[in-house]
Amino acid sequence: MTSATGTLTAPRRAAPRPLRTLAGEQIAVASGQLAAGVGNLVFSLVAARLLAPGAFADLAAFLALYLVIHVPTASLSAGSALRPALADRARRRVAGAGLGAGALIAAAALPASAALHVPFAMLLALAAAAPAAGLLALERGRLYGLGRTRRAAASLAIEPAVRLSAGVALGALAGPAGAAAGVVLAGYAALAVAHACGDAPASGTAAAPAAGGAATGATVLAFLGLALVQNQDVLVANAQLPAAEAGRFAVLSTLGGVAAFATTTVPLMLLPRASAGERRALPAALGVAGALGVAAALVVAADPGALVAAVFGDRYADVASLAVPYVIAMALLGVARVLIAHACATGAARAALGVLAATVVGHLVLLLVMGDTAAGVAHATLLATTGLTAGAGGAAVVRLPSVRGALGPRPAPVALTLAVCVAVGLVLRVLATRGLWLDEATSVQQAQLPFGRMLDELRTTDVHPPLHHAVLWVTVRLIGTSEFAVRLPSLIAMTALIPVLYAAGRELYDRRTGLAAAALATVAPFTVWYADEARMYGFFMLFGTLALWMQVRAIRTGRTRDFLLWAAAAAAMIWTQYFAVLFVGAQAIAYVAAIARPGVDRDARRSLAVRAAGAAALVALAVAPLVPFALHQFEVNQAAGRGFGSSVPSQAGATASQNEGLAQPSIYAAITNALWAVLGYHSDRTMTALAAVWPLAMLGALALLGRGRSHVTQLLVLCALVPMAGLFAVGQLKPFVFEVRYFSAAVPIALLLIARAATGWTRRALPAVAVVGALVALLGLGEADQQLNSSNPRQFDFRGAVEQIHKRAGPHDVVVLSPPYVDSVVAYYGDGLRLRSAERGVPKPTAHRHVFVLGSFFDKPQYAALTRKSVRQLRRDGRQVAAFHRPQIRVWEFAR
């Protein structure tokens, strides 16, 4: 290749190395890192035994400050790993900056010592360590860049070795100052080992093409951002939480730090290899980071209580339930670091920085909103790292050559818009929280049983298939039974729905429709509501959308893979919700129509018929084991007067959907369900007002004149209407089944159709964006009313009511429940409360026993009467001392 300035040498590309070799390199360096971590931990434990408690506290403070100066400088490693030559050029400047920082620390040591309550000598030691911090990061990065893995591992390992030898010896001689000096010495030793290495790359290593200054700068910036995500929760927790709670989070942070620390070197090793075009470097790095993360999570999950108690003492035992989620958060961060590093090394630094910036801001917002407890901070970090991993992963998927081709000529804005939608959607779904509802509490109770017993319980008392329960069972065991934990599967499903809807919209129509559908799904009240419910409806919507997408792909491409994916999605949908058979039935009709449509040649017709029949057979095969399960459920429940004949309300807020006292679903019920599907749940008054403006639907129908009838639109309408119409018909016999939850797979379809209508009427971008923006605003308004309006008949604040009872109740007090079936949700929140069914009568209040009545479901005459009867009885037997109400719930307290 020549240019005006002479001959340019193309970057040397070594022959692609096997995955095993690349993974081996990663493991070698990560082992050094692990050894360093373990060594440093041992040094701390030895120092704890060697030094007096006060002296050890001084050393701990020094170590924390030592970490503070090393964490930001570590991002320099990323720069020199990507560009090893940078180390030579930047060495003097970094040394100068380090010396300056050291001098500054030394100069400020005296006043800082008093302010921070850290001995003066310690601060001098810190000043001495400062020049090495940046240099060490720079040199280690250079080693990663040159592929000098052994040297890098040695540099990592020498540090704890010197700490344990010189540090322990000096500590024994001179106390904490000596130990600190040992730590500083260890840093310089590591620097010496790292520095004493030539500039030649290791044999067999592909030289990374010299990255531009801008790319290197962006990489350094990205790693600084990652450091922020890793550490800002500690800072916020310290600033925001009371000391005890901050201490609880410090325990979590330390445990999570292990997982994060273990994967630190993986992205740094990846940078030069990815930059050199080693395609297998990414899977190798992801594999190692993932394995280390999973290993860390498994170690902690084995017995978190015992681990926390053993390492931090019994007083921190109650943070054990948060240990696994937080370690998972840090493990995800390790994976995200790999993805971000890969993006930086392959010329997608801007997108990576965008995702990172959104995560940093989102994380901070979450911390400020949710961070009033250690659990809240941990969950905020879990959300942030999940979002970061999803965003970075999505961006990586988008960059895959096959996907890139499918995305069209301008993938970056699409990826960015999608990333923003996912981030906003995730934050919205997390913020829009509420207390558990009856069915959720029942599901959680069932999921806590051993697996076999849970299935048995489902078979004999429930009316739903077991897929969601199985996932919940695993979730409960992995991350506990907190509200967040049990809703996490739904949260993930409903967040994943956003990119899946984009992909489906793009496949079915075009990119513009896909983006509009994703934007609508981000704020659509129905999707947000069921992201926050530990039930199967989120899965139902996700699998339904996947099935639809895959079916269209299968018909268009005729590829076996797409038919198999459709079969998997369809089967999963039925395993999630029985009424999905209506949806799959509609899809079967669509297959028949596709086979029979004119203009298809005979071979293509036959091929499509064979594949569709095969896929349908697979679905039937996959669903076959469910049939006896379902039949048993039906028989047992019918015989016991539960399930399909149950008196337990399966829907709340039905008033708005009923008209003129009709028990059977009516057109008004259909309108109300349609409004719920699109605009979410609202007060009966709002729903009645919204239903009254049905003539606007006529306008909508008229507006469709001349809009054409594509096969895809027909398929969507078929898949949305068949389940709805089917349940409407069944609802004439069993009224409660006609409820949007049971055909909730139609909701994403409705969003797709709305997105198509909003974008398809004009070719110009601006009007389409304006219409989509208006629709997003409308849905956002619906979402705000749904979440904030306490008149929403689906807002049952059992949590608030029980918390208030808890504050007032003593150990002998009794809570009378009306209706009795709210026991599971009250028990979930009211651990230790003595519960009693109102149907069993009310106990008399005594001098030592207050009696509470918790009443709900006042729209059901029998329960309203039961509550009235209980309260009247207690007024006769005692005196009312308090009464309060929460949304849809009233509580009375009686004493003698």
Binding site: P598, N659, E660, L662, S666, I667, Y668, I671, T688, A689, A691, A692, V693, W694, P695, L696, M698, L699, A701, L702, A703, L704, L705, G706, R707, G708, R709
Partner: protein, 516 residues
């Protein structure tokens, strides 16, 4: 690369009038079979005595609904029997037949007329004589005829408008076949090859072809006007042909001279001379045919005033022909078909009735129906309405758009005015639809629509300020529906046809100048 002509009439048509096929016809019939019970379901519910709310309003509602049902049923009946004839040249004759092509003009610009004359001279399949029938008596037209090799005829006495002009030419010519072309309709070279074959049957009076608006893309109004035409010249015209009831539309039509002479030429006292001529011919036993193929490309109205003028003339003419239809010796099927076409121009009354209901309900509380919740009403009405709408979409093959519907609804007052004029026997005059759109705003052309919007908005606001109960919301929503439809219909007049129409006309002139 092939250059695209600037005059839209010289471009290939983007629409086909032919039937989508047998599957389409089967679908139409199946849906018709489904629509009938749904309509019965709704009307059985509506006509239950207990439904009567305010008696007068109820009577108006029932009358409007029955009228619309009759129109809808007529539409389904028409379309269910569609016939899609193939083009057919005249075979068997020893020599090519003689054809006179009449192009009547009045005050149209030369740049509009000249391509028509030029193209008519190029017609294949017959020995063609082109006649430029100039009722304007302009030298410019005489020169044009001379330049293009057409015969020029001008009258000293201009009675009978377009009909009189054609009749005058009929007396001067002698070819056995006569083609009538509006001066803006540029014929395709194969027009006669596609139509003359159908005149082989001795009792065939005329063969009609679509009136295609090539300027549909010029602006929203032209597009909407074309959309209405597309529904007629697509499904409806094919259906009418299936019933042997296709009537002459005044242009793009080939007549047998003998039939015209038998009918005494075009009726000169009518505003829709073509329509009345058809009635006369059918009454005298002649037959007609429709070839669903675009063989001439013309210009539709490009501004609201032109559209209003055209619709008003058609409405008055057709409504004025009801007497002739009833009096004529027509078979029942044809009589019903003609009555359907005539009475279409009463649709505006039903729109007026529907618009008045929410206003009356909000202002007085009176409503047509009693003892019926919205739920019940929807249960009975929604399936019928949805299917009827779907059938329009299906039968129009997507050509009939919301804009076309809105334009029709916003023209409600034209129907009202025209029917009153007919009822009061007010004299009407034949006004040629302008072939060039005005580029400015034309609020005067839509004043009744604006007044209706004002009343509806004021009533809805008054109602909502007074109460927000479901009943008021429901009626306010109805008012909003009407307002939206009317606003969409009159919007082109308020926006102005835009420079596009004027530019299109200038481009035509420029193209002609270059060609010359």
């Amino acid at each position: 690369m092939k250059a695209v002509p600037t005059d839209p009439r010289l471009r290939e048509p983007t629409w086909t009038a032919a039937s989508p096929g047998r599957a389409h016809r089967l679908r139409v019939r199946l849906l018709t079979a489904l629509a009938i019970p749904l309509a019965l379901f709704y009307f059985a519910w509506l006509l239950t005595p207990g439904r009567i709310g305010h008696p007068v309003l109820y009577a108006l509602l029932v009358a409007a609904e029955l009228f619309n049902l009759a129109q809808a049923a007529g539409f389904w009946w028409t379309c269910a029997r569609e016939r899609s004839r193939r083009p057919c040249a005249l075979h068997g004759a020893s020599e090519r037949p003689e054809v006179d092509v009449f192009v009547p003009v009045y005050d149209e610009p030369a740049d509009v007329v000249e391509p028509t004359i030029a193209a008519a001279r190029e017609l294949r399949g017959a020995r063609v004589s082109v006649w430029l029938l100039d009722d304007g008596g302009r030298e410019e037209m005489r020169a044009l005829a001379a330049r293009r090799g057409a015969r020029y005829v001008a009258r000293s006495e201009r009675s009978g408008a377009k009909a009189g002009n054609i009749n005058n030419a009929l007396r001067r010519s002698r070819a056995p076949y006569v083609v009538v072309l509006d001066c803006d309709h540029v014929p395709a070279p194969d027009m006669l090859e596609a139509t003359l074959g159908h005149l082989a049957a001795e009792d065939m009076a005329f063969v009609q072809t679509p009136q295609y608006y090539a300027n549909a893309g010029v602006n929203a109004l032209a597009g909407a006007a074309w959309s209405q035409q597309a529904l007629f010249f697509g499904a409806i015209a094919r259906g009418k042909d299936g019933h042997d009831a296709m009537f002459c539309c005044g242009t793009n039509v080939v007549f047998r001279r003998a039939a015209l002479e038998d009918a005494g030429g075009f009726p000169e006292g009518s505003l829709t001379e073509d329509f009345e001529l058809s009635v006369k011919l059918h009454a005298r036993g002649w037959r007609s045919a429709y070839v669903p193929r675009v063989v001439a490309r013309g210009l539709g109205p490009e501004d609201m005033a032109s559209y209003v003028g055209q619709q008003h003339r058609w409405a008055r003419g057709c409504l004025g022909s009801i007497g002739a239809v009833l009096r004529g010796d027509l078979p029942l099927r044809l009589r019903l078909q003609y009555l359907l076409s005539c009475s279409y121009f009463l649709t505006g009354w039903t729109i007026l009735v529907y618009m008045s209901f929410p206003v009356i309900r909000i202002l007085t509380g009176a409503q047509p129906l009693a003892a019926a919740g919205a739920d019940q009403f929807l249960m009975h009405f929604a399936p019928y309405f949805a299917l009827a709408l779907y059938m329009v979409a299906l039968m129009g093959s997507g050509a009939y758009t919301f804009r076309a519907f809105a334009l029709q609804a916003a023209s409600f007052w034209i129907h009202v005015h025209a029917s009153l004029a007919v009822l009061l026997r007010r004299p009407g005059s034949f006004k040629v639809t302008p072939k060039r759109g005005a580029s400015g705003r034309q609020p005067r052309a839509v004043l009744p629509g604006l007044a209706a919007i004002t009343v509806l908005v004021a009533a809805a606001m008054y109602g909502l300020l007074r109460a927000q109960d479901p009943g008021t919301l429901n009626n306010a929503a109805f008012a909003l529906v009407h307002v939206t439809v009317l606003a969409a219909g009159i919007a082109p007049a308020l926006r102005g046809a835009g420079p596009a129409a004027a530019v299109a006309a200038d481009e035509r002139t420029e193209a002609l100048r270059r060609a010359a």
